[in-house]
Symmetry: D2
Subunit: 138 residues, 4 copies
């Protein structure tokens, strides 16, 4: 499968900070989700398309490495790479300071396709999804 | 209508704190929701019962007054008073330090009954809900 | 005092949704905070400037009216109006659908200036803050 | 080092749910943090003690496995095991349904001791912390 790479920009808001004046570690998952949705939108295969195909992609695994804490108003880039779609969707994420390029965080998620009617795992991606990946141009 | 008063206990967790080392102001809404759900559970009229009656009670208005900031590990009591059910559900909340009784926060919410099939506002509470309120013993 | 009006754009993310598939009511407070910080940035008087002047502006009151629920990926505009700075900072917010202009939500917050060294309330705004407001051009 | 095991009970609240009517995957991190703070409290070595020793323990790595989604009002048990303190604090977590014992989620976190004055990593735990672990009785 062709790898897809997209970049999502965000800015640290006050409500994401903790008493150490840095982003609370659990809030990085929000940046990852926003970046993933952004990638799916750019691919043209969104949550709505999944629903039409009676699929959902719940997160099954997540690994995160916290390198340097992000701070208030810092501009972040989340580089998001779709690595695999079968047997499961594997995505890698690297968050950097958008100005200096300094690496702050990295993660990897695995999401499993589930048939929302039967609840069963599906080890294949849909033809539509695979075609969108093949046709993707940055 | 008989007024109902219940008390919900909670403890401030680290993830609710902001850089000033106090509960971030937006997080009080979570305490209010948990206290409201607790009151409905004690009444015996939960979200499931609402759904069976094809009702939902979205929040229409909320007023909050922040008196003194809650801090890490502080034990809180949320006194929750159901004031009205018709034409809308009105609830008052007072958050105090559970040990000293000192008042930290107060709020008032108004929730409107909506028919989940037609989307229309319903200005009456269901007979079941009203009966549960009448039968309530603390 | 001259009134200041700014507009802040945001998009509804998946993590802000609740089981009704709309923005959970407590999450609007995050949009308000982001809009407020954006206004202060445009004014040139940020949290850092407050800290230099030994001031903080904790939220003392908040009133919210929920008119129509925002949905996934909806583009929102938060029109933010600084109404008063003395004796307290009063801000009004109107959230509309950024495309149709339809009103979804409105709120009003009151924040009180506090001297971070003594903890005392200050009923005057700093000269710097007042000047920034006077000099503001949209 | 002696392993420490504690159990923390919590209940799923409405505000933790997502549009699939299950706990949003990012919210499990809150349960882990609450369980960790609960373990430190039972050990008698809290965030305050860390601060006195000029230490902080930021999360450096986190691995999570989502097995079965938790639902509204489900009672959860978070079994928390302190595996290592040197060279870094390693904790394992297993979340089960508190009634059936069914496993829903597991995770592992690594936190690194940092000297809050110099910002440098410290590969040893403090004598106080190690003694608290040795003296711990469930």
């Amino acid at each position: 499968m062709k790898k897809i790479e997209t970049n999502y920009k965000t800015t640290v808001e006050f409500y994401d900070l903790d008493p150490m004046n840095v982003v609370w570690h659990g809030n990085y998952i929000k940046y990852l989700e926003a970046a993933r949705c952004d990638m799916l939108e750019k691919l043209g295969y969104t949550y709505d398309d999944m629903r039409i195909e009676k699929s959902a992609y719940p997160v099954a695994k997540m690994e995160m490495k916290f390198i340097k804490s992000a701070v208030f108003k810092q501009k972040l880039n989340v580089k998001t790479t779709l690595e695999e779609l079968e047997p499961a969707m594997v995505i890698k994420y690297v968050i950097t300071d958008d100005e200096t390029g300094k690496k702050l965080f990295q993660a990897k998620s695995m999401q499993i396709r589930v048939d929302i009617e039967t609840g069963e795992t599906v080890y294949k991606a849909s033809k539509t999804f695979l075609k969108k990946v093949e046709d993707f141009k940055e």
